[in-house]
Every structure is written in C-alpha cells, then in structure tokens.
Amino acid sequence: MTFSDVLLILPGHPAISVIFWVIILAVSLYLARSPAHGAILSLSKVLHHGFRIAAHSTRLAEQKLTQRNREVLLAAGREASERIVEREFDRVDATVRRDLAGYPALQRQLSEQILSIDEDYKQSTEVPPAPPGWLKAVESVAKIPSSGDPMVANILGDIHQSLVKAQNSAIDEYRKSSHERHMLLKRMMPHWRKLLQVLGQVDKSVNSLIERSKTIDRHMDEYEQITKGSDRAVRMLSSSSITQFFISAFVLAIAIGGAVINFHLIARPMSEMVGGTSMIMGFKTANIAALVIILVEIAMGLFLMESLRITRLFPVIGALDDKIRVRMVYITFAMLFCLAGIEAGLAYMREILSQSDAALVAYLMENKQANAAAPQSRWITTAAQMAMGFILPFALTFVAIPLESFVHSLRTVLGLIGVGLLRAVEFVLRLLGNVSRYAGIMFVQIYDLLIFAPLWIERQVKGRAESEPEKGTSEKKKPERGGQEVGTAAVGGQS
C-alpha cells in the first residue's frame, strides 16, 4: 500500500477524495485557528523585537565609533596644530636669536654712528675766519696821492703790496676753512646711509616677527576651535584628512611605480650575484634580493626623514638626543649613498648583460661571429640607467612624507567607512524588523483566507443566533463578524 493509496479515501474517485481532504484540512485549520494565529504573531513579534534590539545595538556602536572618530580626529588635529604652532615659535625664536640677539651690537653701532655724525656736525659748525675786509683798505691806500715825493710813493707802494699780500692770505685761509667744513659735512653722508641701512634691517626683522605673530594667531584660533571640540573644527579636520588620504595615496602610487622601475633595473644583474636558478617561495632569489635592496633603501629613507624630524612615524627617533640624532642622519645618509652606488653598479651590469645577450643571439642566429658593435649612442642609455639607479634610492627617501600622511589619514577614512557600514547594517536590521512584523500580520490574513468557508459558516450561524433574541427584545444589535474580529484584533494588537 503506497502513500497515495492511503490518501485515496474513496478508491477510484480521486476528485471526491481531494474534496474530502480539503474539507478535513479546512476544519482542522479552523479548529487550530486561535493557537495558530498566536504562534504566527508571537514569532513575528520575536523577530521584530530581535531585529529592533540588534538595530539599537548597531546604532549604539555607530554612535560610539562616531564619538571615537571625533576624539581621534580632534586629537590628531590638536597634535598637528601644536606642531605647526611649535614650528612657528621655533621660527620666531630663530628670528629673535638671529636678529635681536645682535641688538646690543646694533645699538652700539647706531650710537657710534650718531656720535660720529655729532662730532662731524660740531666741527662743521666752528666759525671760520671772518671774510676779508681788506679790499677797502687796499683801495684807499692805493688812492692816496704820493704828492710827487718818490719816498712817500715808495712807502705807499710797499704798504699797498703788504696789504694785497695780507688780503690774499686771508682769502686763502677763508677758503681753506670752508673746504674743511664741506669735507666734514661730506664725511657725514656714509654715516647717514649706514644708519638708514641699519634701521631698515631692524624694520625688516620687526615686520617679519609681526607676520609670524599673525600666522601664530591664526593657528592659535584653529587650536582653540579644536580644543573646544567644535563641529566646525571636526568638519574641517575630517575634510582635510580625506583630502590628505587621496593625495598621499596618489603620491604613494607614483612611488610604487618608481620602486617597480627600480626593481626591474636591478633584478636581472642580481642573478649574477646570487645566481639565476635558486628560488624562495616560488620566486627567484635574485628578484627577492633586488626587492630587499629596495626595501632597505625605503627603510633608510624613513629613518633619514625621521632623524631630520621631517616625519614623526617613530617617536623613539624623534625623542633621541640631538647629537645622536645628527649622527643617525649621517649614518643613514651614508648607507643610502652606498646603496645608490650599488644600484648604479648593477644598472651598469644590466647594460653589459644586455649587450652580451644581444651579441650571443646575433652570433647564434646569424651563423657568423658577431662583433656586437655597439652604436655610438649606446653610452647614453648606459649613463641614463646608471643615473636612474643612483637617483631613485634618494627619490624613494621622500616616500616617508606621503606615507606618514597616508597612515594618519587612513585612521579617519577607515573610521568614516566603519560608521557608514554600521549605518547601513542598522538600516537593514530595522527594515528586517518591520518586514517581520508586517509579515506576521500578512500570514494571519492568509491563514484566514485558507479557511474562509468555515469562517463564513460561523458568521452565518452567529448571525442567525443573534437575530432571534433581537426579535424578542427588539434591541438593535449589529451582527459580529467572527473571522474578521480575530484578524482585526490581531492587527490592532500588533500595531
């Protein structure tokens, strides 16, 4: 006896059997209606609350992450502002040390200049001898008549000559004195110029300090905003961080390109040093050796930048004693220089190998001894390769700067992505909660739809039973609709 035989209540009449089963099912469902409704609604309620709780937890996590992002952003911004203000103060300090430290000397210089000018001025004011008043006396003596007496005439002539002499001498003295005064005044000119120059320098220094103080004021304003934790500061820092992220990522991509070129420049000649057949983890040892050289160069570059205090990736290096730090600068630079030299040598070796390969192929393929005559311009590519091999390590040194920006901005960007993801998860959970809630109501309605026949009968029976007492008591009472009532109550209960 098969399962279908069991289902076949009246053998040979499958349609009647089906109708019979439908009736049995409908009656069963009708009888189980209340607990079934309860179960469906409870399940939807459980799911709804579960999803709501999960969404709430996600929202809390998102809020915490947002708060944490804010704190991190503000802390980073505060640190950056402190760094900028510190550098500005360093520059002010340097200016003060350079310019104003020499202020006593400058003052002395100014005093000396003023003293010299004063002395010269005093000397130039000394009264020169009176202008010659001899002219009239000479003329008067010249006009005295000699009365024909030759003796008197001789005496008058002598007096006249003496007077002319004395007059000439007085005029010379006057001229000499005036010349000296002019010379003194002329000597004052460079002192005046020097004075002007010194005052110009002082003005420049003071103006520079004023400019710096304005910059410091601006940064201090920003710093205040950050310490207050204002939304404006957070927005500003967030935007700045994302910009930094993309810029640094772009520069890092360029640096990776440079490193790839560098790698190809030295990978092949490396096989001359470490052999071309040994492998490590499926990669040629020569390639790994070339990569190690490049990575060591980048590491040296990082240390150099750190020692120069251009970057602050390793606080330990930044906190080193200045003397040790300077030594570290020299050591890392020397190592970089050596590595650059090695790379230049390898680039040269690469060129030699290329030439050797070309000569061999020519020898084998052309079936004659190839002289491998290099064209005259071959040295240009050799020199270019060597120069690239030498310069690229130093160029890679500057990777440290975008790397630092990338690392710092990455935290903010990851935080923002995390917040975005949590918001999306929260939305999905809320959506699922609501879907499960209304799905429960929908299943209740579908359940009632499946047993519409018993429900209709129930309504009819109830309606008839209620209409009879109505006739007796003449009370007007609206017939209840059983199936609808339960469904509505269920919906009402949920909503």
Binding site: I256, G257, A259, V260, F263, H264, R268, S271, E272, G275, G276, T277, S278, M279, I280, M281, G282, F283, K284, N287, I288, L291, V292, L295, I352, L353, S356, D357, L360, V361, Y363, L364, M365, N367
Partner: protein, 222 residues
C-alpha cells in the same frame, strides 16, 4: 601587471620573513633539459646545416641552469661516446653565455668532420637520452629527434625494448620523405604512427615539426 607582481613579491617577502621559513622554502627554479639526437646516416648528413640552425635556436632559448646535450645517431647509439657535447648552464647569465658560445663551436667542428654511418639506431639514441635526462632531472624534459625516423639496425643489435618516457616531450624534427615514401606514402605514415605509439605507450608526448621556420614552441612552456 608589473606593479601587481612587485606587490606579490613584497607580500611573499614579508611572509617569508614572518614565518622565518627561508631554509625550508629554498628550492631550485624549474629548469629544462633538452637532448637532441642528430641522424648521421647515409644522405641525411646533408641535412646537418638545418640541425645546426635548430641547435643555435635551442641555445638561444635556454636559460641559466638548463641542461643541453647533442648526440649523433649512428650504428649503435646507446653510448656516451655518441654525445657530441653536453652542458648544464651556469647560474650566472654571463657564464652561461660563454658556455653557449663554446657549445656552438664544438657542434660546428662536429658538422665539419662528421662521416655518414651505415646504420641508424634511433631507439638506442632515445634510450641514451632518457638516461641522461633522468640523471639531470630537470623540470621539463625534451628529446628532439632530427631524423627521418627510418631505423636500420645492424645484425645482432636488440632494440625491441619498451621506452620509459613518463614526463618526456618527444619532438621529431625535419622528418624527411624517402624515395620509398614517395612511392608508397603509407610507409611514411606508418613510420610516424609506429613512433607515436611507441612514445605514447611509454608515457611520453609526441609531436612532429617539419616546418623549421616555426621553431618557437618546440621546447614547450618555459
């Protein structure tokens, strides 16, 4: 693509340094072993110029660490004496280039002084090639047979031996048609079919390359 390779290499290097597995991970790059048999019987010696071209091509294609041997097929070829020259190229590219030049000179000398042999022992040559390549144990083994594949054995020589060619790539080059093949082409086809069956039943793969202008893929993947 190059950048991706570079990044993969960087990641590998980091993995190696983290696991500290340098010693365990040390391996040798997959090398190639090529053994070329040159038929020197009868009129086939006239084809040796073509064989030289193929040898030069193979030399140009092989890398440091690869092995290459050239041997002649004559009356009895299952002997090391028939090996004209053999070499395993040095790790360093410059040394490998020097070895290639030396190899070519040896082959040139052989071609100038070779004398035709009366018989053709192809099977003996293949057995010798199998022995040589198994001893070298390269990553990829190739036997090049530069011959018309017409085997003529001296009385008393036993060559009805199954060939163990698992992992071998056998390439027949310049399989010329003999006068009798022209009379009855089935002879030529049967000859090729016999060799194909012999090689494939031994576990090897079989190819015929008669167009010597297209030698690019005779060595298979590098």
């Amino acid at each position: 693509m190059k950048a991706l390779k570079f990044l993969a290499l960087t990641a590998t290097l980091l993995a190696v340094s983290i696991t500290g597995g340098c010693d365990k991970a040390d391996t040798v790059a997959p090398t190639r072993g090529v053994y070329m048999l040159i038929d020197t019987s009868g009129t086939y010696t006239n084809e040796l110029k073509k064989a030289q071209t193929i040898i030069n091509f193979v030399l140009a294609k092989l890398n440091p660490g690869d092995s290459f041997a050239v041997a002649s097929i004559n009356t009895g070829s299952f002997t090391e004496k028939d090996i004209i020259d053999k070499v395993t190229f040095d790790d360093r590219p410059s040394m490998a280039n020097a070895q290639k030049r030396q190899f070519r000179e040896t082959v040139d000398k052989f071609v100038k002084t070779v004398k035709p042999s009366a018989y053709t022992d192809v099977t003996g040559g293949i057995l010798q090639a199998i022995e040589y390549l198994n001893e070298k144990d390269p990553g990829h083994k190739t036997i090049l047979i530069f011959s018309d594949l017409k085997q003529e054995l001296k009385k008393g020589y036993v060559r009805d031996i199954p060939l163990q060619l698992n992992g071998f790539d056998v390439v027949a080059l310049n399989v010329t048609k003999l006068h009798s093949d022209n009379v009855d082409p089935r002879e030529y086809m049967n000859r090729l079919e016999t060799w194909r069956k012999r090689v494939e039943s031994g576990g090897g793969s079989w190819r015929v390359v008669n167009d010597l202008e297209r030698l690019d893929n005779i060595l298979g993947p590098s």
